[in-house]
């Protein structure tokens, strides 16, 4: 391998340990800062802007960014894009975060029980995980979202139902390997109940991989909300979300490209940040991931 290694000056600087450490940790830090800024903007932004996200002004339709105090322009109804972007961010981040909590809860529960009990129950649970993973997630989510009444809570549940499997797999593998360790056997000899051993003794030892998986699940949940809202089956207008702001954007691509570019950039920034944080946490917890 040494023979193939590159040796330009740039690479030599790059290979110094400082540069590497600096970069690997700072990507996660960058992610944290971005998320903090985004959250702050979504919480405070609507109060600072001169326009309400629902205020329709038909005289100011399709104003390009930086028109007067419409910093990010206006949409086909003359609503301020910046105000809508921040309100949408509240919904999108909240849905992403809640879906993560729910799916991590389901996944952890299934994973702990399957990993600890094993046997036919563990087998059945893990085959169910495989079954859910066999569906292309968007087909399942869209079918469910179309069947059930689309409210933000229902959308959150539907997204969670389609994204708990990764956590379940990770937790199951972790618990299965922890099950045979001495401290668990000691717990059994002390006469502790199965529930106590599962959730009080084993689970705290598997917290690292769960946190990593949960962080990456936030990223995926935000993406999934964007997909289904873009397709018209997620968050319903007039409530804005980053996904449904893009819903009508394609037809105005030639005349008002900012309607498509701005919300998509917000989604990409949010999702990238969560992926960076997840990657940093993976290094920090020393979790072997894929």
């Amino acid at each position: 391998m040494t023979a193939i290694a590159a040796n330009s000056n740039l690479d030599r600087w790059w290979n110094s340990r400082t540069a590497r450490r600096f970069m690997s940790h700072h990507l996660a830090l960058l992610g944290m800062v971005m998320i903090a800024l985004l959250t702050l903007a979504c919480v405070l932004g609507p109060h600072l802007l001169p326009y309400d996200s629902l205020y329709i002004d038909l005289r100011a339709r399709f104003a390009p960014p930086l028109t007067g105090s419409h910093y990010l322009g206006t949409d086909p109804l003359g609503r301020d894009v910046a105000a809508r972007l921040f309100m949408a961010g509240r919904i999108s981040l909240l849905v992403g975060f809640s879906a993560m909590l729910l799916s991590t809860l389901i996944g952890t529960l299934v994973g702990v029980i399957a990993g600890y009990r094993g046997g036919w129950l563990g087998m059945a649970l893990m085959r169910t995980v495989d079954g859910f993973l066999s569906f292309p997630s968007i087909f399942l989510v869209l079918a469910l979202a179309a069947a059930l009444k689309p409210s933000p809570i229902m959308i959150t549940v539907v997204i969670a139902v389609s994204s708990w499997m990764e956590v379940a797999r990770i937790v199951e593998a972790e618990v299965r390997s922890l099950r045979e360790r001495e401290f668990v056997q000691a717990g059994r000899m002390l006469g502790l109940s199965g529930t106590h051993i599962m959730f009080r003794e084993i689970l705290p030892n598997a917290i690292g991989p769960i946190i990593v998986a949960a962080t990456l699940t936030v990223a995926r949940a935000i993406l999934m909300e964007a997909y289904i809202s873009f397709l018209g089956y997620g968050i319903q207008p007039p409530l804005p979300s980053w996904g449904n702001m893009l819903n009508g954007a394609q037809q105005y691509l030639g005349t008002a490209p900012w309607l498509a570019i701005i919300p998509g950039a917000a989604i990409t920034i949010a999702v990238t940040s969560f992926n960076f944080i997840g990657d940093g946490l993976r290094d920090a917890f020393d979790v072997r991931g894929d």
């Binding site: 391998m1 690479d11 790059w14 066999s134 569906f135 292309p136 992926n275």
Partner: protein
Amino acid sequence: MRGFLLNRLSQSLVLLLIVSVIGFVVLNLIPGGPLAQFGLDPSMTQDDLDRLKEQLGLNRPLWMQYLDWAWRLVQGDWGHSFRDGAPVLDVIGRHIFATLLLMGSSTVIAIAVGTWIGIRGATHRYSVFDYLGTVGAMVALSIPTFWFGLIGIYVFSLQLGWLPAGNMYTIGDGSALNYMHHLILPSIVLALVHVAIWSRYMRSATLDVISQEFVKTARAKGLSERRILMKHVVGNALLPMITLAGVQLPSVLTGALVTETVFTWPGMGRLFLDSLGYSDYPVVMGLLMFSAILVILGNLIADIAVAVIDPRIRLS
């Protein structure tokens, strides 16, 4: 090999069974359940609905209904589209070519580019290229496919005018060249995420192989680095990628649905959305089950292919 095949086949059958149960649950969650079609018809009274329920056996216990439904799936009776009365399997069959074409071409792009990035990243570990590859992959995984498609259309269709903004071919021009021209943008858009995934896995697979003894032996024999890489490393690193291709199938199908919507590509994803819009539940359910079966089949084929190529797996 026979033992391996039997074992793997039975696993797939169990998975099919579970998938069908999940599908049946979804079917019954739809308002009106299997009778959704008639709920929309104002000339149907509640009495009519009750009678129909009786006739179709929807008053029986759920497990009997499930068996009935599953047995009809096995026989190829997937119901009829609400929209034109055509058998669901025929409707799906009409759209499968477009999807397979899109998936196939984007998979070729993903494998070619992803393999190159992955191997170069592994052999030039911690170089600027490797770092950009890693960060680039994480960003690529974070870009919504439909947004990337919209940006692509904006730049290459609307601004530069190089590529068509949608559809599979120009009406009146069915030449292969015309198809290819329409295929370029959507397949690149669909490939992006999978280039990222493929390059990450290829990088770590190559690193695994490089650190093995036989590579040291090859080097000790005095083989050139290039020859070691091409003959001994790449082949071994590519093997697990066959499994990966199977595992990635659901996400390729998800991406295809979104890409087809943006590019008005007449495939299964577009059909799924159109059917949802018309509340054409037999087709929606059909596509849901069909895609899951496709995924199970794809994984089965990938595993068998790996076993055929690699004796270590079929003998263990």
